[in-house]
Subunit: 223 residues, 2 copies
DNA sequence: AAAATCCTTACACGCACTGTAAGTGGTCTT
DNA sequence: AAGACCACTTACAGTGCGTGTAAGGATTTT
């Protein structure tokens, strides 16, 4: 069953939405602590977020960006203002849909189903500049094709990608690959890093791995 | 560069759209033979199709369904009628977006970018009941997780899925797995089929393989 | 120049996938 | 009912890819 989170400050509307979605067979959670929306959503990790723009504590736009920066939960923006400016802002922030109140029940349900369908299979995918990485099998989707990474290379890329742009210490990488290994053989890590770099150069990737002497490695956009 | 196909009978509108999209950096193809829209789209296989509803020869709805049945090209419906009924019909036919004329330039461009982004990585994916199959690596996405199929099992499932519901002769399966093999060892195929069945029973799949004595195999929904 | 760190390359081990082969069970024909 | 045919299962051995080890070269730091 798909899980939908609702962030809406008008209680009447929230209740109505909740009832409607539950009748459709969704599991629904209403978030009511508007000061901790982002944290709660990231904790719940729903299949979809229904997000109102006009909130008491913080703008829905800000929340949308925060969530999109730290996860890939699809977001459907709800708003009473029918302004193109809002829609542009929302979609540029990474929102997946935009619906104006008053909404028609059928339209809303269709849009929800549409977004959920689009996200099918994208559940445990990591998004990088110009590519996607499936965390289950370490399949790399890039430029219309797909490549299967060896497990170790996949785990390394995954770990670097989760901390994109910042230096990741070698111990963390070792832990990610071998699981809190006691005897961290830094040479083994080194070899696997070389291998990953090699497979990456054979692909049209926009990122590269750089090393920070004595500390660890970093993933960043190619110059 | 992303390739967009336009199907629009009002020449003025088509030219305007084409110019606008090209200025944005898309490759654009206008389809003008309205009696062969489906065939041309399937031949071109664009990254996105802009489809008008009111066409001289055939309804855009019909075209949308035909295309969706035979490919996974994303479709963005353009219409001058702003009727909820149309929108519901369109989305139920598998259309990915729905925009009413007169459109605002920014809104249209955003929606296009949005759909293209959603389809990232879904280029060579096959869609089955409740799952997706990547044709490059034979990664199976089901129920929020992903599993990597062995190459042979993947090829068999791929071939069966392309002819879902109909019987696939054993020769065709052999060809798909070993490539027009002269000495088709039907036993080898048999063993690989058994293996595929086994991995499928270990997954929450809604389909099953049945055998047609003396002919071949068929993929169908579980009873 | 020496030391430390990073990188490359080659080699051998192991595991998963594969085809072969032999044997079982079911189904159709006569 | 019996035999022929086809579908299925299982076990085994070969192969290839991914892996860690090890040794040596390259680059930066002291």
């Amino acid at each position: 069953m798909k899980h939908i989170a609702i962030v809406e400050d008008e209680e009447m509307v929230a209740a109505e939405l909740s009832a409607m979605l539950q009748k459709e067979g969704y599991q629904v959670t209403c978030i009511e602590d508007f000061s901790r929306v982002t944290e709660e959503v990231l904790a719940i990790l729903p299949d979809l977020l229904l997000l109102d723009i006009n909130l008491p504590e913080k703008s829905g736009f800000v929340i949308c960006r925060e969530i999109k920066n730290r996860s890939s939960v699809p977001v459907l923006i709800l708003t009473s203002r029918d302004q193109l400016k809002d829609e542009i802002a929302a979609l540029e922030l990474g929102a997946d849909e935009f619906i104006t109140k008053p909404y028609r029940k059928e339209r809303l349900l269709l849009r929800i189903a549409n977004v959920l369908k689009r996200y099918e299979g994208r559940n445990n995918m990591l998004e990088g500049p110009g590519f996607l990485l499936d965390r289950g099998t370490y399949t790399l989707f890039i430029d219309g094709t797909s490549v299967l990474l060896p497990k170790n290379q996949g785990r390394i890329l995954e770990t670097l990608l989760l901390d994109f742009g910042t230096v990741v210490p070698k111990e963390k990488l070792c832990e990610a690959v071998w699981g809190t290994s006691e005897f961290i053989d830094e040479n083994a890590l080194q070899v696997n890093l070389t291998r990953l770099k090699k497979t990456m150069t054979s692909l049209p990737m926009k990122i590269a791995i750089t090393s920070e002497r004595g500390v660890g490695y970093r993933l960043e956009e190619k110059p």
